[in-house]
């Protein structure tokens, strides 16, 4: 038995076996178990104690606000050109004339990529780091932990996108004003754009999390997400044939426009149809991932 301890800071560790548990371990194991609220609290602690998560959230705000400002400037330039150049004026008119209302959400494509990847990472890192063994030993029913993580990811994505879009609008206002363009952040179209886009990003984050859970690999999950949201739309456009023209409408990334259109554009989905399509894109992978998570070994 080593009774000499060179490092005094370790003394506690050595004597711990003898006296510390004696005081602290009562031997009773009665106490509360993992209710959904407790698991939610745990998942929120896990979420906010990773620096990489906080960095990605910060990046999302920067990108959305940055693109809002850039887009406000670009839209202003466009409007200015339209005032003097008839060709530009025609192009400007064909856009429906009201480009300013889309300025605050111009960074959404990037926000969805970042928060979608975050969704993948939060789940895949559980498996790549071995954390999943701790998580599912504490919550052996597994589904409550999965649902709690999903809720944390979706609510965060929604709130953060909504706040970033609003902030982007506030930043864009003086720039647009400079070009005599009007933007009313309280108009029903602005509110609709903000809510639909925020819901959409929350949906992408949920799809990302489901992919992370199904694939259990960070790179593979993120690549699948990029494939679905960035590669598939382009590929579907390049492949000839009516099927792909039709199928393209049902890609998750193409559901936002029909949902935010001021009036229905011919040959696109109705708003409610687009919402159903996006809903299916979320529900199917999320449920599939939950079923497999319950079945597979950790």
């Amino acid at each position: 038995m080593s009774s000499t301890t060179l490092d005094p800071s370790r003394r506690g560790a050595q004597s711990g076996a003898g006296d510390v548990p004696a005081r602290r371990m009562s031997g009773t194991s009665a106490g509360p178990g993992p209710s959904f609220l407790r698991v939610l609290n745990s998942e929120f602690i896990k979420f906010r104690t990773l620096l990489s998560t906080l960095i990605l959230l910060g990046c999302t705000v920067l990108v959305v606000v940055g693109f809002g400002a850039l887009s406000a400037w670009g839209t202003g330039q466009f409007a200015e050109a339209a005032a003097t150049d008839p060709e530009a004026a025609a192009a400007f008119a064909s856009q429906g004339g009201d480009l300013a209302v889309g300025v605050p959400t111009s960074g959404i494509a990037f926000a969805q990529l970042i928060l979608g990847s975050l969704g993948v990472l939060l789940m895949s890192s559980e498996f790549t780091t071995g954390m999943a063994r701790s998580t599912f030993a504490a919550v052996p029913k597994r589904i409550p932990a999965y649902a709690a993580k999903l809720l944390v990811v979706m609510v965060t994505a929604f709130v953060l996108t909504a706040a970033s879009v609003y902030l982007a609008g506030l930043v864009a206002l003086p720039i647009l004003d400079n070009y005599n363009l009007e933007l009313d952040l309280a108009s029903s179209q602005s509110v609709k754009m903000l809510l639909v886009n925020s819901l959409y990003v929350a949906a992408v984050a949920a799809i990302g999390m489901a992919l992370g859970s199904l694939i259990r690999n960070s790179a593979g999950g993120i690549m699948s997400l990029v494939g679905l949201f960035f590669v598939a739309p382009i590929a579907f456009q390049l492949i000839p044939g009516d099927f792909f023209v039709e199928a393209r409408k049902y890609l998750p990334g193409n559901t936002v426009e029909p949902m935010t259109a001021v009036q229905h554009v011919p040959d696109t989905l109705e708003a409610w149809q687009a919402a159903m399509v996006l809903g299916a894109w979320v529900v199917i992978p999320v449920v599939l991932a939950a079923v497999l998570l319950k079945k597979r070994d950790v």
């Binding site: 038995m1 080593s2 301890t5 800071s9 370790r10 506690g12 560790a13 050595q14 711990g16 076996a17 003898g18 510390v20 548990p21 004696a22 602290r24 371990m25 009562s26 031997g27 009773t28 194991s29 009665a30 106490g31 509360p32 178990g33 993992p34 407790r38 698991v39 609290n41 745990s42 998942e43 602690i45 896990k46 104690t49 990773l50 620096l51 990489s52 890192s125 559980e126 780091t129 071995g130 954390m131 999943a132 063994r133 701790s134 599912f136 030993a137 504490a138 919550v139 052996p140 029913k141 079945k295 070994d297 950790v298």
Partner: protein, 314 residues
């Protein structure tokens, strides 16, 4: 109490655990000994509900782990020293674990103190040494003050002081009436830590007995004898089932007779004996003996598998 009945796990072609039955009783340290790849970790993961058994059942205190109302308060496990997100601090990891069962922050601080992690608790786990990772794993296992403690290879990577600490800790936990199930491939550690031993090899239980029985149960009694008339004594002791070996001048090793019989023979013939020491087989010898049987048995079916099993157990 942990009970496994017909517990089997098959991964594709490979049978990791082949229908094992065992019971881990409360109030004593039960060692789970076997070479690497024998199925120890797989069995422990099945106890914790992380791996689904292909067939058979395993229960803790009468119910499968997943059915427990407060799992962390009933069973604490160290299954993998790095079952932690590497970018999170040890404190936050334990805090998140504790939150699932509303375990108070004070308890988190207590287990950090208890495991000697106070200095590094706020640092990222990714930078931990293997020994620190083990301490964190043990801290997580003790978080819920569980009645049953399962530790997979807890002394791996620990410094000698840490090894002694784990040894005292598990003995203490068992003395409080808890169920302690501890795996290792280190027999020397088991010999001084465990009260009861379950030996597993190639997914099968080879032995399940008190440690003393495993050490003495196999092999014959050997006795070391020193005498100034070794040749005469050798002649006197010779007989069926007895082997006497002259190891050096005046030193004999006798197998097949107990010390009383040797002393009687020497006394009857007035041969002076100045040392008579019963030699106990080491656990290591007993273990090699046990796994040798297992290897020989299997070599009838799969030749060439003997080498890794034997080398894993030394």
């Amino acid at each position: 109490m942990i009970e496994a009945r017909g517990l089997t796990k098959v991964y594709g072609e490979k049978t990791a655990v082949a229908g094992v039955n065992f019971t881990v009783e409360a109030g004593r340290v039960t060692g789970f000994l076997g070479p690497n790849g024998a199925g120890k970790s797989t069995t422990m993961r099945m106890i914790m509900g992380l791996d689904r058994p292909t067939s058979g059942t395993v229960t803790v205190n009468g119910a499968p782990f997943a059915r427990h109302a407060a799992p962390l308060r009933d069973v604490g496990a160290l299954l993998d020293a790095k079952a932690v997100h590497t970018s999170r601090s040890a404190y936050n990891h334990l805090l998140a674990m504790a939150a699932t069962h509303s375990i108070p922050k004070k308890r988190v601080h207590d287990v950090i103190e208890m495991t000697g992690l106070a200095d590094v608790a706020k640092k990222k786990v990714g930078g931990f040494s293997l020994g620190m990772g083990q301490r964190l794993g043990i801290a997580a296992a003790l978080l819920g003050d569980p009645q049953t403690v399962i530790l997979d290879e807890p002394v791996n990577g620990l410094d000698p002081e840490g090894v002694v600490w784990v040894r005292n800790l598990v003995k203490y936990l068992a003395s409080e009436g808890r169920t302690v199930f501890l795996s290792s491939h280190l027999m020397s550690e088991m010999a001084v830590t465990a009260d009861h031993l379950i030996v597993i090899g190639r997914g099968r239980i080879i032995a399940d007995a008190p440690i003393q029985e495993i050490i003495t149960g196999r092999g014959q009694i050997r006795t070391r004898v020193r005498t100034d008339q070794p040749d005469r004594l050798m002649h006197l002791l010779a007989g069926d089932g007895v082997s006497v070996e002259l190891q050096e001048n005046e030193l004999l090793e006798v197998t097949g007779l107990d010390p009383r019989q040797i002393a009687r023979a020497a006394l009857d013939s007035r041969v002076m004996v100045y040392e008579l020491t019963p030699l106990q087989a080491s656990l290591e010898e007993a273990y090699m003996e046990l796994t040798k049987d297992e290897v020989e048995y299997h070599s009838l079916i799969t030749t060439g598998a003997a080498a890794p099993v034997q080398s894993g157990g030394n």
